[in-house]
């Protein structure tokens, strides 16, 4: 709880710093505050009592996710000084908005009342609507912001409708009440199923599951890269944490499980197949984000069918998967920014050409991160996928899982196509300019991905 307050105050503080034009202070102050929040969460590891009249519970699951999100945000902030080096105005607002969005993320991991779910999603989303349009003079950025806002509002309507229906049945916003009602009615209530369906739809929008994924590529491509990094990492972590809390509490009745199977298969298929043909790196990463959502949905799906008490295994897998995915994504998007600058703003996959010749270490880092996203052994991405597959087999979703394996193969293909570019010599010489801080973050991400792949027990 104190961490929540700390981050909110930190956001305001950062805004004030912006007022006094202390641009160079923004990132350090933000990072210090985040480290403080991590420490606060860490000391609260064993405290497990409900807060705010039982609307929020900081249990191990939420604290794990919160620490993960805070670490990822620190990494993104480390990228900030270089990214905003040439921007003079409104930098503070961007840091502050990210911090506010992070607060929404914290609430999403720890809600135990549907009301807090709604609040969390709104606190997370509204800053993002603004951030997506942060490049005020770019048409694409404006488009991204507008599209995100419209579709986000649309999904919120679904979510609210679902919450209203559930409230109508149980007379309470509490997940416990909902769970009690579920066991009582056996999940055959039509209105209840509609309520669940609408809430899941709202959540599926946030995590970019097919068929609610249409905003992902456009918004990712249009947003500034740093904001896209934030969306692809922290927002995804928060979204899946929220999804898991909801699914785990309801125990997933069969009707919902059927819908989840459809969502999973569609997300895996569309995300991977469309990614095959992407030549714009940001769009590729957007579709790769959709496809990873598919694997995460497969993990969620396994919550249905696992014996009681294995729910935490799903939660742990989600945390491991989203965290390692985030690490690789941050590193690659920073590299993308570097390569984009070196190629006069081009975003095509081939801007990575010549990276190996110019910066061998960074090329090796890129290799590690791409392989992690593709799921090749000894990287964290492999362990993450393997955990998902184990869960799915354990829960009896054999055919869905086999389909997932096939889609993982497609995934390897499009990452390898980019890896290939890294090792190609370009037609003309390209100079990559890497600031020491960026070098550090990329190295951290790559080493992190490898270390977590070899010692998965660290998370």
């Amino acid at each position: 709880m104190s961490a929540l307050i700390l981050i909110s105050v930190l956001g305001v503080l950062v805004l004030y710093l912006g007022l006094f034009a202390k641009k160079s202070w923004l990132a350090p102050v933000g990072i210090l505050g985040l480290l403080g929040a991590i420490a606060l969460f860490y000391t609260g590891w064993h405290i497990n009592h409900p807060l705010l009249g039982g609307m929020v519970v900081f249990d191990r699951f939420s604290i794990g996710f919160n620490i993960g999100m805070a670490i990822i945000t620190v990494l993104i902030f480390l990228f900030g000084p270089d990214y905003y080096a040439r921007k003079e105005h409104h930098v503070a607002e961007q840091y502050a908005l990210m911090l506010f969005a992070l607060v929404g993320g914290f609430i999403l991991t720890s809600y135990s009342s549907l009301l807090m779910l709604f609040l969390g999603i709104e606190i997370l989303s509204i800053p993002l609507y603004i951030l997506a349009g942060a490049k005020k003079h770019s048409l694409r950025s404006n488009e991204a912001s507008f599209k995100y806002f419209l579709l986000g509002a649309f999904s919120t309507a679904f979510l609210l409708m679902g919450i209203a229906l559930l409230y109508g049945i149980t007379g309470s916003f509490h997940l416990d009440a909902l769970a009690a009602h579920m066991t009582q009615s056996g999940g055959s209530d039509l209105m209840l199923n509609f309520g669940l369906f609408f809430v899941v739809t709202g959540l599926a929008f946030k995590v970019g599951a097919v068929p609610f994924h249409f905003w992902v590529p456009d918004v990712y491509q249009g947003s500034p890269t740093l904001v896209m990094t934030f969306m692809a990492t922290v927002v995804k972590m928060a979204g899946f944490a929220a999804f898991f809390r909801f699914i785990d509490m309801t125990g997933m009745p069969d009707a919902l499980a059927r819908i989840m199977v459809l969502l999973t298969i569609a997300t895996l298929l569309v995300g991977n197949v469309i990614a095959l043909k992407q030549t714009n790196f940001k769009r590729l990463m957007a579709y790769s984000s959709v496809s990873h959502s598919g694997f995460l949905l497969l993990a969620l799906l396994s919550d249905h069918g696992l014996e009681a008490g294995h729910g935490m295994a799903v939660g742990h897998t989600l945390l491991y998967y989203t965290f390692t995915y985030s690490l690789a994504t941050i590193g690659l998007l920073i590299l993308f920014t570097i390569a984009k600058r070196a190629n006069n703003g081009a975003e095509h996959n081939n801007i990575f050409q010549g990276l190996f010749a110019a910066k061998p270490w960074l090329a090796l880092c890129a290799l590690a991160m791409f392989l992690s996203l593709a799921g090749i052994p000894l990287t964290a991405g492999f362990v993450a996928k393997y955990q998902v597959f184990l869960l799915a087999i354990g829960a009896g979703w054999l055919k869905v899982m086999l389909f997932g394996v096939l889609m993982a193969l497609l995934g390897i293909y499009y990452y390898i196509m980019v890896v290939r570019e890294v090792f190609v010599r370009p037609a003309h010489t390209v100079t990559f300019v890497v600031s020491p801080l960026n070098w550090l973050v990329i190295s951290l991400c790559a080493v992190g991905v490898l270390v977590l792949g070899v010692w998965p027990a660290l998370i």
Binding site: P377, L378, V383, L406, Y413, R420
Partner: protein, 481 residues
């Protein structure tokens, strides 16, 4: 400890090359490293007492049964010998037929050797899988950077093809691991004790077999092979055919025969049919090739078909013959691809049309080549003869008609190899400016020829390694319900 050294020596040497980048000494360092590994392998062989050895056993991720267990049985040791003996020659190829940056090439080759040792030492299915996939990465870069025409498209196809098999294998491993009693374990010893129900074995057989069938390759899964072998730099082709293909045969023994024996028995006639058909098919195509390297690639595929068929005959002849032949085939492939490289280096092309009548200009080379051809068509006293003889025996015991297909293979093999020799070496002198084999080529080929002649004379050196394990395997079949 020795087993860990096997994995670490090449890995550290590769790392040393990457960090220090000694361009002039790169090959020397790599050669010394492979010779060191070879010494360790020989030490293991020398101290081998006929019982399976477990060198290292550590927990890694207990929750999924993933343990770090290294060890070897007789068959594993044979594979280690194969890898250990061939790699000095594969590295040595670089002296006479260099490709690209010696530092990177040799580092990649050493990484590959390290992963290959890992595959043959792993006693845990999960660990096996990790090494199995890691072998792919160095080769991927080797092909991508120094391949021939259309290297990018072919490399990606090869990579995806093998990864498809790998993922199917991973799925099978995950599945069988979850079937073991708690706490789950993916150790081969635990998995072998599983008696899976027949209906599971029926499909599990194919998800596992796919991985190994692609690796070798066996008939319907072979379409990556000819192009990849042809396009790859000589050293890459050697690694692929001489050692990496053997992972398929080795995998069949440790996975299929141990974990799904009844499934393997049920499908054996299918596999033998596919393998023999593929072998004949490849042999016929080999005969019609106009490209020397492609011809050798198809001949390799033909041999793999025969080995796989003999493996599934379920008798001591077939299985020991195949295991013996893995070694013989590895030596043969290194020789053949070296000769292909040496000839095409002189004539500037792999095409038979640019060769012919070379014997008058390079008589010594022609003689060396003749020895290798003799081995390739399994003349008595060469290394391949006992292996092929055992394999035909195995096929004969299984069914007369498969033995007939095998005999056809002998004839076809002799036809395409001798025809190739004729097109390269014989015929009227066409005044192609070539030089005869020099000292380096002699130092390369003569030891290999000595190896295959000596092992041909004393096949028991190899056979005694596999006798025990094969008997053990067959006993466990007969005790099946």
């Amino acid at each position: 400890m020795e087993v860990l050294a096997l994995i670490l020596i090449p890995f550290l040497a590769g790392l040393l090359l990457l960090i220090a980048r000694p361009a002039a000494m790169a090959r020397g360092i790599a050669l010394v490293s492979t010779l060191l590994s070879l010494a360790v392998v020989f030490w293991l062989w020398y101290t081998w007492t006929g019982v399976a050895v477990t060198g290292i056993s550590h927990d890694w991720v207990p929750a999924w049964g993933m343990r770090f267990v290294l060890g070897y049985g007789g068959i594993g040791l044979l594979m280690l010998i194969l890898t250990g003996v061939l790699f000095p020659f594969i590295i040595g190829t670089g002296y006479k037929q260099p490709v690209g940056d010696p530092v990177l090439v040799n580092a990649l080759l050493l990484f590959c050797q390290s992963a290959l040792f890992g595959v043959f030492l792993a006693q845990n299915a999960f660990l096996f899988y990790i090494f199995f996939e890691l072998t792919l990465l160095p080769i991927f870069f080797l092909l991508l950077k120094w391949g021939g025409e259309h290297k990018r498209a072919i490399t990606v196809r090869f990579f995806l093809y093998t990864l498809l098999g790998g993922l199917a294998l991973l799925f099978s491993i995950a599945y069988v691991t979850l079937q073991t009693p708690l706490p789950h374990s993916a150790d081969f010893s635990v998995l072998a004790a599983l008696h899976l129900p027949m209906h599971v074995q029926m499909w599990l057989f194919w998800t596992m077999f796919l991985a190994f069938a692609i690796k070798m390759p066996i008939f319907p899964f072979h379409s990556w092979q000819p192009e990849t072998y042809t396009m790859a730099p000589t050293q890459g082709t050697m690694v692929l055919s001489a050692v990496m293909g053997k992972m398929g045969l080795y995998g069949i023994v440790v996975f299929l025969f141990a974990i799904v024996p009844e499934g393997a028995q049920y499908w054996s006639s299918w596999v033998i049919g596919l393998s023999l058909f593929g072998a004949l098919y490849a042999a016929v195509i080999a005969f019609r090739q106009n490209d020397f390297k492609r011809m050798v690639a198809y001949s390799s595929m033909s041999h793999f078909g025969l080995m796989c068929a003999a493996l599934f005959t379920w008798n001591a002849y077939g299985i020991s013959g195949t295991m013996y032949q893995t070694f013989a085939h590895g030596v043969l492939m290194v020789c053949l691809f070296y000769i292909v490289g040496a000839v095409s280096q002189r004539t500037g092309s792999n095409d038979f049309a640019s060769m012919g009548g070379l014997k008058t200009k390079m008589p010594r080379f022609a003689l060396l080549f003749m020895f290798v051809v003799g081995n390739a068509i399994a003349l008595p006293l060469t290394q391949s003869f006992p292996g092929e003889w055992l394999m035909y025996n195995g096929l004969w015991q299984w069914n007369n008609w498969t033995a007939f297909a095998g005999v056809l293979l002998i004839v076809l093999g002799a036809i395409y190899m001798l025809y190739a020799y004729q097109r390269v070496m014989l015929g009227p002198d066409r005044n192609i400016a070539v030089t005869d084999a020099d000292d380096e080529e002699h130092t390369f080929l003569v030891p290999l020829i000595l190896i295959f002649m000596l092992v041909g004379l004393f096949p028991n050196v190899i056979l005694h390694l596999v006798d025990g394990p094969v008997q053990h395997l067959l006993n466990s079949f007969t005790s099946l319900p």
